[in-house]
Amino acid sequence: MRLPPARGPLSEWLIGRLCEPQRTAVSPAYRSKLPWADEDLQLSLWIAYELHYRGFEDAAIDGQWDPEVLAFRAMLEREWVAWLERECRVMPSDAPIAEQLRELVDAEDGPRLSAYVRRHATLDQFRQFVANKSVYQLKEADPHSFGIPRVDGPTKAALVEIQSDEYGGGRPERMHAELFRTTMRWLGLNDAYGNYVPEAPAVTLAVSNVMSLFAMHRRWTPALLGHLAALEMTSTLPNRQYAAGALRLGATAQDARYFTEHVEADAVHEQIAAHDLCGSYVDDHPTALSDVLFGASCALKLDNLFAHHLLDQWKDKQCVAS
């Protein structure tokens, strides 16, 4: 993919630096009260992280380890992490980690995006939903794979068991990202990696950026595991609804397979993630408990903000139409 267009001084500096590393302009300073909604910040973070995944064909080949870029990213992350800490840090209890994760998930009183998609979404709205999701889903599971070399024993076995499923268990056509492509093609969407990044709002990029933050920094390994557990634990019920919505809108079973696959697969994954993955990690690292919960809480919070963003937009359109 190519570098997306800038959205402000931060992304303009970063893109310039990646295209012409010999340039010596000083990076702009940054402050923001609402980092998750800041277009310039989230796009800059997304580009900085993407250098560690597929990268950009028009960026310097070693931009990934450019010290100026790393220092710039660290500056952006300070505000971003400070906001996540303020909004998402939760107080741990003495209960088993799996129970605490379940309580967090159950307490999440988010907007009912999946119920809306199931019953009311138009084909255009479904298309918009899937285009937004594609920013992460086309590299589904990749952020959490960064955790594999950082954990041991039963934690590693549990993580690899989940990830192996995500990647199709040795069968590329069953890879979740590939199943997602089938759904995209049904909707007439372009399934090229990163195609919808230029038009994705800050909150959609933030959903991906929080995973990448936890993936890039070994220090955030417990949060990465907690984040994965929250994804798995909030997957089966919404995906059932998304599948029903897709079928209502004329999808074939194959078009909707991405969603139905997640009902069966994540019924397994949520147990492994909560009990075997996070359970064994916290047994080995008792002081990491709070960060595991923090990672889960961040996943839930951003998913919530994303759902609000779509539903608010759709509600506004309904008002205009009626």
Binding site: D106, E161, T236, V263, E264, V268, Q271
Partner: protein
């Protein structure tokens, strides 16, 4: 790699307030004795009786009141 003759071919584990996970070699049949199509190496079997895709788990148990661990 050596194989442990004592190692069971199938491992079955119950999860608190959740399904039973089956890993290994197994054949899964429904109430009429018809094989359930699944090519997963690990499956989750419904324990709450409410799954729409029984005998597999579909996560519905998380909507039901939970029983505390005894």
């Amino acid at each position: 790699m050596t194989t442990n003759a004592e190692e069971p071919a199938t491992a079955i584990r119950a999860y608190p307030n959740g399904p039973i996970l089956v890993r290994g070699d197994f054949e899964l049949l429904d109430e009429d004795g018809v094989p359930v199509a699944t090519d997963r190496r690990t499956v989750a079997l419904c324990r709450c009786g409410r799954s729409a895709i029984a005998p597999l788990c579909d996560g519905t148990h998380s909507l039901l009141p939970r029983t505390p661990r005894s």
